[in-house]
């Protein structure tokens, strides 16, 4: 065999072995790379409920309740809402400032701990989906949906 072809075989087989190893490693570590859990996964107790975790899903329609509370002589907003993946849901309690994109029926990721079946969030992040459109088109879509529904 020519030196050139020898190198071709050697490098190709080395790369193939390396990538195979990576795939095996990857399949085993896959679970550890999840950024947040869905309410269903929480329900099936895939995670221990005492440590700090993240839960993600849709804010249920009509579930957001806001109230003002006093703490250390400071006026704070306490927000209660429900996160759902349309199968299971999680009740969330949060004190603080919400991101601008936080809305009902929008994606959200919350970080915090469980206490008495209620999730006490220390951080709320709005999740943006892959849909981009101008406001007029969104309005038209909503109108169309309403007409289809009636």
């Amino acid at each position: 065999m020519k030196a050139k072809n020898k190198r071709l075989v050697l490098i190709t087989s080395l790369l193939a072995t390396f990538f195979l190893g990576c795939i095996l490693l990857f399949l085993n570590l896959r679970e550890n790379l999840i950024y947040f859990y869905s309410p269903t996964e929480i329900n099936e107790s895939k995670t221990s409920k005492t440590e700090k975790i993240r839960v993600g899903g849709m804010v249920s329609k009509g579930s957001v309740k806001r109230e003002l509370i006093m703490r250390d002589n400071e006026k704070l907003e306490k927000i209660n809402f429900e996160i759902t993946d349309f199968e299971n849901s999680v009740q969330v309690n949060y004190i603080g400032i919400l991101p601008d994109l936080f809305k009902e029926e929008q994606g959200v990721v919350v970080e915090g701990i469980f206490k008495n079946q209620i999730f006490l969030a220390s951080k709320v992040l709005a999740k943006h989906d892959e849909n981009y459109m101008p406001p007029e088109i969104k309005k038209m879509q909503l109108l169309k949906d309403n007409n289809d529904g009636s």
Binding site: F18, P99, K103, Q106, L125, A126, H128, Y132
Partner: protein, 238 residues
Amino acid sequence: MNFFNLSSPNKFQKFSKRIYPWVSYGSVMFLFIGLFFSFFKSPPDYLQGESVRIMYIHVPAAWLSLQIYVVMAICSFVSLVYKHSLADIISRSCAPIGATYTFITLITGSIWGKPTWGTWWVWDARLTSELILFFIYIGHMIVSNSYEDYRKGDKNAAILTLVGIVNLPIIKWSVDWWNTLHQPASIMKLDSPSIDSEMLTPLFFMAISFFLIFLSIMLTRISTEIIVRKIEIIKSNF
């Protein structure tokens, strides 16, 4: 013109001189058209408002950051197997451009993330793997320049590039494989794009412009590198 003739550095030099004006003027022209559409001829988003315009820089830069790596990976393979000097030169010329596009992706994403998500940075799979890509580019630049003999640097940098390919599918499909804060793909997917056509136009022009900017910088860097190596060879003969 036979394509394989281009593998000779001298022929490549001639060819590159001929196409360079088209590429560089084209990049400026498309950049202006793209920016005009991005700022004046596209609507705000129904949810994000005006900050959607950051996407017209973020997304093309992210595409380029991956495409440039693919070019480098192919060149590294050719260089290791066939010991082709032009492949090394292309790889070396691409690395800083790729690093810059990756940096632009990370910075613009961060600026978009603050008003949209409510945070500058999260350690989710997409953001982390893109950051690793940035480190690989930087590593390539360090490795290829840290030997007295540039051939040794080229070889080790090529090995690093091939090992780093593992990261590419992770970046591309991280948003599908894991729950990430980053949204899944809007355009590069099997379904029809989930971006309004009015927003697709600026994105399209910006992508062409970014690609041409990459080409023109790459061509300049390649010609410089060819000249530098010729000088090295002449020096070593004395």
